[in-house]
Amino acid sequence: MMSQKTLVMGVIGADVHAIGNKILEYAFKQAGFKVVNLGVMVSQEEYIKAAIETAADAILVSSLYGHGEMDCRGLREKCDEAGLENIPLYVGGNLVVGKTPFEEVEKKFKEMGFQRVYPPGTPPEVTIADLKKDLGVDG
């Protein structure tokens, strides 16, 4: 048996949208991951500390309230600084603000060091399939 992969997840910044976070936790657990859910209003430092202590395999960031770009900036650099150079960063929720096309948003987040960026309404199954591929879990 493959050893269980650990995911650190949470809703970043001053964002209190809690429902999607719970649904994702449930979905990832069902898919066989060990989930460390930091809940809502999570600071960049909290993700990093949790990932170090639990030797996490990926960090999944949610942002629903429209300030994702601001809140996520610098997370990659801080991870690198803390010795998490290779940890994959995923981000999703409502990252599109106003009429900006998703491709532009995606490009911006990728430049900020996120491996995978999801448009609003992405079902958990898509992310789970990506995780299995990226982390080398056989589906």
């Binding site: 001053a14 060990k34 460390v36 209003m41 909290e46 170090i52 202590e53």
Partner: protein
């Protein structure tokens, strides 16, 4: 009559308390200087003589003791992330009644290992990683620690996946190793009881022997625990009750001493209002914090440094130069007491008040208001103590003060610092006969009697 003798081997005094189990009352209390360098029994014999000169000779059905003699239980804690496993390790050590000299996190450096060697801990607690989590750091730290000559025992309470490997590394350097459950088995889940129990077991078996306290073991039924954990025990019993004896509800104990100020809170600490998001490690119901820089004798100059001379001046009503003169004097002669010296009693009042203020501020939870573009949200870290209704003062400087109410008021909520979650309206009680540690010992075997005696003896101010 059915008398029990309770003994507290302190760093300066050996204190004895005689209790009658039948009438559930204190027969008497007495103290004498601790004699740890020669034979600790002498100090005990002297204290008992003083006691018996007051209450007459007595036979005891049992004798129990706690100890903070010979420096107490000195510990070093090592973890991974400072506010996760390192903090969990610190809390486990504190709850075992230890004096935590230093906490280390991440990979230990050569310099830090040398420092640990010099600190000569009685026990080292090594943690790091959740179960299945980080392995490298605790393995690295075990390797580093195995290079230290000192053969202090190590309690290993980290990632279970490498616990045996960690143990083997440490055993290479002849250290006694006790492996127990992880202090943080899952992220943000505290599990400090197994480590606490392991620390206590080693304390009883090894430390007491190393400190020359075994000679008394034959005379008494056992040294049960370090003194601070006896106080925590008493506070916990008094708050929660036992069997048919109801507790008095959530409370705080503030214990000011010459070297440290201890604060114990027995309370859930959940947010008092709705809509507050709690962050950080879960808080233990019975929590102890120790401030090594807030004491009124050995640590008096550290207290001045931490709190500022202005505040001590304001509380004592004396000019700065006068306070400094006294602080220098009491740091050199910690045994002098304010009885004959009116000014020293003012200085003591100032120091004690400020010690209480700062110690409670550090112990209490904090609430942070975060103004987002969409309104206000509240983040709480630590325990919300605003709802606590009882504050108990103990320790010589509080008990012997002419104005204990003034001192304990420093523990209260301040509208000028609303982010510090201190009690908003509470009754003050005072441990006039200095019996809390003794009651903590008694409650190991007679919890209901101990609770009833505390209810009788703690005076409402």
């Amino acid at each position: 009559m059915q008398a029990v003798l309770l003994i507290d081997f302190g760093s300066t005094y050996t204190k004895v308390t005689a209790v009658d189990l039948n009438s559930e009352s204190i027969l008497g209390t007495a103290k004498a200087f601790t004699t740890v360098t020669t034979d600790i029994n002498e100090g005990l014999k002297n204290a008992v003589e003083v006691l018996h000169s007051q209450i007459g000779g007595t036979d005891y059905t049992a004798k129990f003791a706690c100890s903070s003699a010979a420096g107490g239980l000195k510990m070093v804690a090592v973890g991974l992330v400072p506010d996760l496993t390192a903090e969990a390790a610190k809390r486990a050590a504190l709850s075992a009644g230890a004096r935590v000299m230093k906490v280390y996190s991440y990979e230990l450096s050569t310099k830090e290992v040398e420092e640990i060697h010099k600190l000569k801990p009685d026990i080292l607690l090594l943690t790091g990683g959740t179960d299945g989590g980080n392995k490298n750091v605790i393995l690295h730290n075990a390797k580093m620690l195995s290079q230290i000559e000192g053969n202090f025992p190590v309690v290993v309470a980290g990632n279970k996946s490498v616990a045996e490997q960690v143990g083997d590394l440490l055993k290479q350097s002849d250290k006694e190793v006790r492996i127990c459950e992880n202090v943080m088995p899952e992220f943000n889940v505290l599990n400090i009881e197994p480590a606490r129990a392991a620390i206590r077991e080693i304390f009883l078996r090894r430390i007491i022997q190393a400190k020359g306290l075994t000679k008394v073991q034959s005379l008494i039924d056992g040294i049960l625990m370090p003194t601070p954990s006896a106080v925590l025990n008493a506070a916990h019993r008094l708050a929660a009750g036992c069997g048919n004896e109801k507790g008095i509800g959530e409370l705080m104990v503030i214990d000011v001493g010459g070297a440290t100020t201890d604060v114990h809170s027995i309370a859930g600490g959940e947010p008092a209002r709705a809509g507050v998001i709690v962050k950080g490690l879960p808080e233990p119901f019975a929590k102890r914090t120790v401030e090594g820089d807030l004491g009124v004798r050995y640590s008096a100059s550290a207290l001045i440094e931490a709190a500022g001379i202005e505040l001590v001046g304001k509380r004592s009503g004396l000019p700065a130069e006068e306070i400094m003169r006294y602080v220098n004097k009491i740091s050199e002669q910690p045994e002098i007491l304010p009885e004959q010296d009116e000014k020293l009693s003012l200085v003591d009042y100032g120091l004690t008040s400020v010690a209480v203020k700062f110690a409670v501020e550090r112990h209490a939870g904090k609430i942070e208001t975060s103004y987002t573009p969409f309104g206000v949200t509240y983040l709480q870290t630590g325990k919300d103590l605003t709802g606590i209704k009882k504050i108990i003062g103990t320790g010589g400087p509080v008990i012997n003060s002419k104005n204990p109410t003034g001192i304990l008021k420093e523990a209260m909520f301040e509208s000028t610092h609303p982010s510090i979650l201190k009690p908003q309206s509470a009754e003050f009680l005072i441990d006039k006969k200095y019996i809390l540690a003794a009651m903590g010992l008694l409650s190991e075997n007679y919890p209901e009697v101990a609770i009833r005696i505390m209810k009788k003896e703690l005076q409402v101010l």
